[in-house]
């Protein structure tokens, strides 16, 4: 069952509220219903694979798609009837969409000129915006003379100079290379914090969502799977989709066989008995056990653990610099992926037998 919290933390009027948004393309292709609240100053990510509806939702907020049903409210006022040029919502595009025939200054000044802001004030505000994104001297250049990262910052400056109520980001960093992406990520978050503007950020990159957001909205197939803080999403995924999409996961079919003090006992398809994190369920329920690869511990010789001690044989070993990825067969015939850091993995080879353990609290029971 999806965890949908439509209340904000403060309980005051949310900055952005989406109520039962539905967008119908064909009889088969439907997005929604989607409901969501974003508090003022919050950074919320819409995260999911391609086609999950995150970009459509964003474009509905911006006004470039009209919802088939439902409403969108900004500070309590319904805006879905408003044309996109009246909503005062900033939109940062994936490919920056800087006007190639205008200088950087004119690009940033574009919205201000439309509002007939006086020349002096305009210059000042543009200057401030350029300073804010760290590019104060590029006013006279043209977009094609700038690098990708610089263009992205100018795109942000252009939206931010209008002091919008909300900033929308449509996968803004996906065109940048990895190192630049990581740098821009930090800057973007700092910028948003400094400005205090509410932000809705669309991405398919889960590490980006985890790093940037106050809350993450995980979407798939046009529906919301879970809304929660990065920690909640990662440590307590609501269902197997979220568990699998965020971070690595081992997913094992199992059946509930009993309950003990502080734990639910399950039996896996292969016959393993495991003590898992406590969850409200009945004996006989069919479930999926979720174990994060990095929570499987390799035991030293003779080490004792309270539960879930398993013998295993290493099927394959992959060296990834920081981590070792191990595929191990936990007898009988249940394969797990394990991630260990540094020393623990370096002495091992394929074919070795190992002993692993998983704490009960690290085995999550999810409905099937």
């Amino acid at each position: 069952m999806a965890l949908i919290s439509t209340d904000t933390e403060q309980g005051s009027t949310p900055e952005l509220e989406i109520r039962n948004l539905v967008k119908r393309y064909t009889a088969q292709s439907v997005i929604g219903p989607i409901s969501l609240s974003v508090a003022a100053g919050e950074f919320v990510s819409l995260l999911g694979p391609s086609g999950c509806g995150k970009t459509t939702t964003l474009r509905c907020i911006a006004g470039f798609e009209a919802p088939s049903e439902g409403s969108i409210l900004l500070s309590g006022t319904s805006i879905e009837q408003q044309p996109p040029n009246r909503r005062n919502i900033g939109l940062v595009f994936q490919n920056y969409a800087l006007f190639p025939h205008l200088t950087i200054f004119e690009n940033v000044a574009f919205g201000l000129r439309l509002r007939r802001i006086g020349e002096a004030e305009l210059k000042q505000r543009v200057g401030q915006a350029l300073e804010l994104v760290g590019l104060p001297d590029l006013g006279e250049r043209y977009p094609r003379q700038l690098s990708g990262g610089q263009q992205q910052r100018i795109a942000i400056a252009r939206s931010v100079v209008l002091e919008p109520r909300i900033l929308l980001f449509d996968e803004p960093l996906s065109n940048l290379d990895l190192k630049l992406r990581l740098t821009m990520r930090k800057e973007l978050r700092e910028l948003q914090r400094r400005l205090g503007t509410t932000a809705v950020y669309v991405t398919h990159d889960q590490s980006e969502a985890l790093a940037l957001s106050d809350r993450i909205v995980v979407m798939s197939n046009g529906r919301i799977e879970q809304i929660g803080s990065p920690r909640e999403i990662y440590e307590r995924p609501a269902n197997t989709f979220v568990a699998d999409f965020i971070g690595g996961s081992n997913l094992i079919d199992a059946v509930v066989v009993g309950a003990e003090a502080g734990a639910t006992v399950i039996r896996t398809k292969g016959g393993l008995i495991l003590r898992a994190a406590l969850k409200a369920c009945s004996v006989g329920d069919r479930v999926v056990a979720m174990i994060r690869p990095e929570r499987v511990r390799l035991l030293a010789d003779g080490e004792a653990v309270p539960d879930n001690r398993l013998n295993a044989r290493i099927k394959a070993l992959t060296y990834l610099g920081q981590d070792f990825h191990l595929s191990i067969d936990v007898l009988p015939e249940e394969e797990l992926t394990v991630v260990t850091r540094g020393g623990a993995g370096s002495a091992l080879a394929a074919g070795d037998t190992v002993v692993v353990a998983v704490a009960a609290t690290d085995i999550l029971v999810l409905s099937r």
């Binding site: 470039f64 040029n85 005062n88 595009f93 006007f99 190639p100 919205g111 439309l114 509002r115 939206s159």
Partner: protein, 287 residues
Amino acid sequence: MTVSARSQRPYWISLVVPLGLYLIVFLVIPFINIIVLSFYTHSPTRIWTTELTIANYTDLLDASFVTVLLRTLRLGAVCTAICVLFGYPLAYFLARASRRTALIGLFFLVMPLMVSAVIRTFGWLVILGRNGLINSAIMAFGLDRLPLLYNETAVVIGLANVFVPFMVLPLMASIERINPALEEAARNLGASWLQTFRRVILPLSRPGLISGCLLVYSAAISAFVVPMLMGGARVRVIGRQIYDQLLISYQWPNASAIATLLVIATTCFAFAVLALMRRSARQEQGA
């Protein structure tokens, strides 16, 4: 895939030469002939003599020809303006429409273009004629029929009708090159449709607009069939002048002079269009 000329020299010549030679014989030489002829003297008995003169050009300075020239240029300009007015929205629509709609729209644009100008003008004759559509309707109300044909307005209508596709096609190509996200960015920043058009689409599609205008203007000032059918004897244009002098009054040197001037003008336009097309193609690659 291009291959360095050095290793392929014998081959490429054989491909390009036939058309090259053919064009020299059937295009270049006839035009050189016209230029030469424009400097010959008219003779009533032998049509022309090889005596060189510039009288054919100076003759063009007389009032009657200048009237015809100015009228032609004026009609061409009005026609071009109408083509821009109707062509821009159509070009934008086709450039941004879904693929299926664009295909259908292109069909209904290109099909009239390829049907002979005569037939398209025929239709307007039926609409504007003495017993045509409009006059029949007027007479049904008991009013006198209007002389809608054989005036400059009719000619302009006929010209615009024929040449709008010439404006739409290059404009459409130009607008297609504009990233649609730019329009959304402008609207997101507060621009209305008109403002988006003025500040984003117009400047970025200028090459297409200029190409279209030059193509249309060039064709309009050399038009002959449309002015003849829609304007009759009252609206004389340069094309008609050339035709009459060549095939009716046999004033060949004179006709050659007019034709030469027109050739120079349209060649300049053509170079401008080609330079524009080349520049926008290069910009696209560099951007």
